[in-house]
């Protein structure tokens, strides 16, 4: 076995109250796709940020190509041949592709030359891109290409990819994997961060598994079953949610022919939407980020108004109603952004309970707030949904993501909605918290409420929803029963590979099939 290209020994990084990395060691060779596997919060991101020079370790050392490696900044890392594709893209919407690429390079060539090289490299690797387009106008998949090309132009030895598939359609995932395999044959090391087991088994040569900041295992993922990997990752077996209900009732809420512009600068316009959700069912709406999810939630919650009869609650036109009028009628919502949209970060949980519960929980009489009722509601949520927090007086931003999300979902569910709309309910949560939230949504539907779940996590939607519809560039596909729906079909509903020409070798449908087969 050749000497490792990258070696990490005894790395430790602590934040106040949390040890993010504790005695982390691993080694990785050239020509390897090396997985860093772990749940959200296991310390994967801290680890790669350290490798990329964004964080400095408290203890431990790193070696690159046999030499000591201690990058003080990403500049140092890039000079040493380490590049990184971020999970939350480090891109600038108002700048064009070439400018974005230039910002990621140490010594960029003149702009015109750079544009040519971007075209060359993007075609070589099957990731076509127009260097002159504003990044704000690109889809999530295209944005990721900008990041990858930015890295490739530097000819790195080590390429770090942080959860790269979370924003891609299955077809786009297949293309990405081809690119990564090709880079592997060129002798590069790819550090691949993910919590998706099937993906890692399909792609990676070696996996280092992290839990609570420590290394709990190291193996060839192709030799292990998904179940074995999951147990090393989570530490215990997970209870799967109870079966979904199968007796949809009458139509609770419907949208007909709704078109709505976005309020945001680079937002997505909703185009001619049709949608129906019945009592007792969960309607799953899938889609890659930036295809109109925020806009759809806003239209349903009442934050954006539309023509009165474009949205019907039973026989009642509610399109022109604001959030509180809808709440009074039993239409509730939980937005994706937990801090700063669903809750006010610097306000405590009592105030945040009043934020959405004021009307339905009778917290306001003659204009005056009854803080006692607000506190009671907050404490009820904390107790029923197992929100781990010192008390209702804690401010929202002091809660962990999982606990805050449980509070947000619980706050709406305990108001006994007839219709509940949630956007990305388990994003960034660990498996236990995610399972708890999915279960509570299933329970709510079981009690006869109509639930709409907007999510990018297709596995999640397959698990809990009875019908599935895809949101693509502001359009909603015709809903299908989730039973018997294949990943390939879902991929096509999601807009396939977004006008992508696939490089050499297989044609697009073949590849889509391949992606379908390697996933559950």
């Amino acid at each position: 076995m050749s000497t490792p290209l990258l070696e990490v020994r005894g790395l430790r990084k602590a934040y106040p109250g949390v040890v993010a990395n504790d005695d982390v060691s691993f080694a990785a060779r050239r020509g390897e796709v090396h997985a860093l596997l772990g749940e959200n919060g296991a310390g994967k991101s801290t680890l790669v940020k350290t490798v990329y020079g964004l964080l400095r370790p408290d203890e431990g050392r790193m070696m690159l190509d046999g030499r000591d490696y201690a990058p003080a900044s990403p500049h140092d890392a890039r000079q040493a041949g380490v590049a990184m594709v971020f999970q939350h893209f480090s891109l600038f919407e108002a700048l064009d592709v070439a400018e974005n690429v230039a910002l990621g390079m140490e010594v960029p060539p003149p702009m015109r030359e750079l544009a040519t090289r971007i075209r060359d490299v993007s075609e070589t690797y099957g990731l076509p891109l127009d260097p002159n387009r504003l990044v704000g106008t690109l889809s999530a998949g295209e944005r990721q290409r900008v990041e990858i090309i930015r890295c490739l132009l530097q000819d790195p030895q080590v390429l770090i990819m942080d959860e790269p598939t979370s924003v891609l359609t299955p077809q786009e995932v297949a293309i990405l994997f081809e690119t990564l395999k090709r880079l592997r044959t060129e002798g590069k090391l790819i550090l691949y961060i993910s919590h998706k087991l099937e993906e890692i088994r399909a792609l990676c040569d070696w996996a280092t598994i992290l839990r609570h900041g420590r290394v709990t295992g190291s193996c060839d993922p192709r030799q292990k079953s998904a179940r074995e990997l999951a147990e090393t990752m989570v530490g215990s077996e997970l209870a799967l949610p109870a079966a979904k209900t199968r007796e949809p009732g009458e139509v609770a809420l419907s949208i007909a022919g709704l078109t709505a512009a976005s309020g945001a600068a680079f937002g997505t316009e909703l185009k001619d939407l049709f949608l129906e959700v019945r009592r007792g069912e969960i309607l799953g709406i899938g889609g890659v980020a930036g295809n109109g999810q925020d806009e759809l939630l806003a239209v349903l919650s009442g934050e954006s108004r539309s023509a009165p009869d474009s949205i019907m609650l039973g026989d009642l036109p509610i399109g022109s109603f604001g959030p509180n009028e809808r709440r009074a009628l039993g239409v509730l919502a939980a937005p994706e952004e937990r801090l700063g949209h669903a809750t006010a970060p610097d306000m405590n949980l009592i105030e945040n309970a009043a934020l959405s519960g004021r009307r339905r929980m009778g917290m306001v009489s003659r204009g005056f707030v009854n803080w006692g009722k607000a506190r009671a509601h907050a404490e009820h949520v904390i107790e029923q949904f197992d929100v781990r927090v010192p008390g209702a007086g804690s401010v929202a931003r002091s809660l962990s993501g999982g606990n805050l999300q449980k509070f947000v979902i619980g706050r709406e569910i305990l108001q006994q909605p007839d219709v509940l709309v949630v956007n990305q309910p388990t994003w960034g949560l660990d498996a236990a918290a995610a399972a708890a939230i999915r279960q509570s949504l299933l329970d709510l539907a079981g009690q006869g409420a109509a639930v709409i779940v907007i999510s990018q996590d297709l596995d999640e939607l397959m698990e809990i929803s009875t019908r599935f519809s895809a949101l693509n560039e502001g359009r909603l596909s015709k809903p299908r029963d989730t039973d018997g729906l294949t990943l390939e079909e879902i991929g096509l509903m999601l807009g396939g590979a977004h006008d992508l020409e696939i490089g050499q070798g297989l044609s697009a449908p073949d590849r889509a099939v391949e992606a379908g087969e390697t996933s559950p």
């Binding site: 964004l54 600038f92 919407e93 704000g136 945001a264 600068a265």
Partner: protein, 310 residues
């Protein structure tokens, strides 16, 4: 009333000069806002520049030293804002207001012994040959050096933001400080440099007022020009050439209303005096009513506090 007494050639010459302080301050603020910082203290920096430049010029007898002192003093004041907002993470709106209030106070304190004095004259820059051309010669080629400097700055800022790497980084920091930080660029360093530059230009603008245009020191002599410079940056949708246009529009209105006052037109003097402010408001309304465009052009991180965790 004698409208015939208004000479269009002189009017344009006066317009170029009258616009210069606002143009300088607005170009500085443009760079600051492009880096994602909203400094509402332009008025305060201008007036401190006006008084510092005046004092230095009177004491040394050299207008050039005066201009340098004005730029330096206002840059120091701007850095005070920079440290407060960027290091101590204070609210930019409140701190900018504080800067203006403090600047107005400290300037009248500094300028106590200088009221009613004439500063050393700052000569016009006669461009050889060109200045002797009929009509356009005296108008365009026989102005104070600062007029040319301000035009050169427009060109320079435009080129810097568009074509240099450092300009690209500055725009990137203003667009998304998180992403710029993730790529390893210094948000703090970039912004402090931009803030100091903005301060220096505002100071220069103030000195242009006290040393060239008026030329005298009186308390509160900037009379809202710093605020108008801020408005012109919005009016120019954060683009150098449009800021130039905005500054000259304002300068034109100011000079015209003064000429109308002098000509004794039958409009109350006060109404004429308020016209530059009213017209500034009017153009602001027109330019910002297109909400979508305003959003696309404004730097995305404008006014937001940045704190690098970890």
């Amino acid at each position: 009333m004698d409208l015939g007494s208004i000479n269009p050639v002189l009017l344009i010459a006066a317009l170029l000069l009258a616009s210069t302080p606002i143009l300088l301050a607005a170009m500085g603020e443009l760079v600051v806002e492009k880096s994602g910082v909203l400094n509402l203290g332009v008025e305060g920096m201008m007036i401190v520049g006006a008084v510092s430049g005046f004092m230095a010029a009177v004491e040394s007898g050299s207008p050039t030293l005066g201009f340098l002192a004005a730029a330096a003093a206002a840059a120091v004041l701007a850095l005070l804002f920079g440290v407060l907002t960027q290091v101590l993470l204070s609210n930019q709106v409140a701190t900018g207001l504080g800067l203006t209030l403090f600047g107005l106070g400290i300037s009248s304190l500094m300028g106590q012994g200088y009221v009613g004095i004439r500063p050393p004259a700052s000569p016009r820059l006669e461009l050889p040959v060109l200045s002797e051309l009929p009509v356009v010669g005296p108008v365009l080629f026989s102005q104070h050096a600062l007029v040319y400097l301000s035009l050169a700055l427009v060109l320079g800022v435009w080129w810097y933001l568009r074509s240099t790497r450092s300009g690209l980084i500055l725009r990137a920091v203003g667009e998304s400080h998180e992403a710029a930080h993730a790529l390893g660029y210094s948000v703090l360093g970039t912004r402090l440099a931009a803030i100091a530059f903005g301060g220096a230009l505002a100071g220069l603008g103030g000195a242009c007022l006290s040393l060239v245009i008026v030329p005298q020191w009186t308390e509160g002599m900037t009379a809202g020009r710093g605020w108008i410079a801020l408005a012109i940056v919005v009016f120019g949708s954060w683009r150098a050439w449009r800021v130039l246009l905005g500054a000259y529009l304002f300068g034109g209105v100011s000079v015209l209303q003064l000429n109308l006052q002098a000509a004794g037109i039958a409009i109350p003097v006060e109404l004429l005096s308020m016209s530059p402010y009213l017209i500034t408001i009017l153009v602001l309304v027109v330019i910002s009513s297109d909400k979508r465009r305003a959003q696309v052009n404004a730097p995305n991180s404008l006014g937001r506090t940045f704190h690098a965790s970890g």
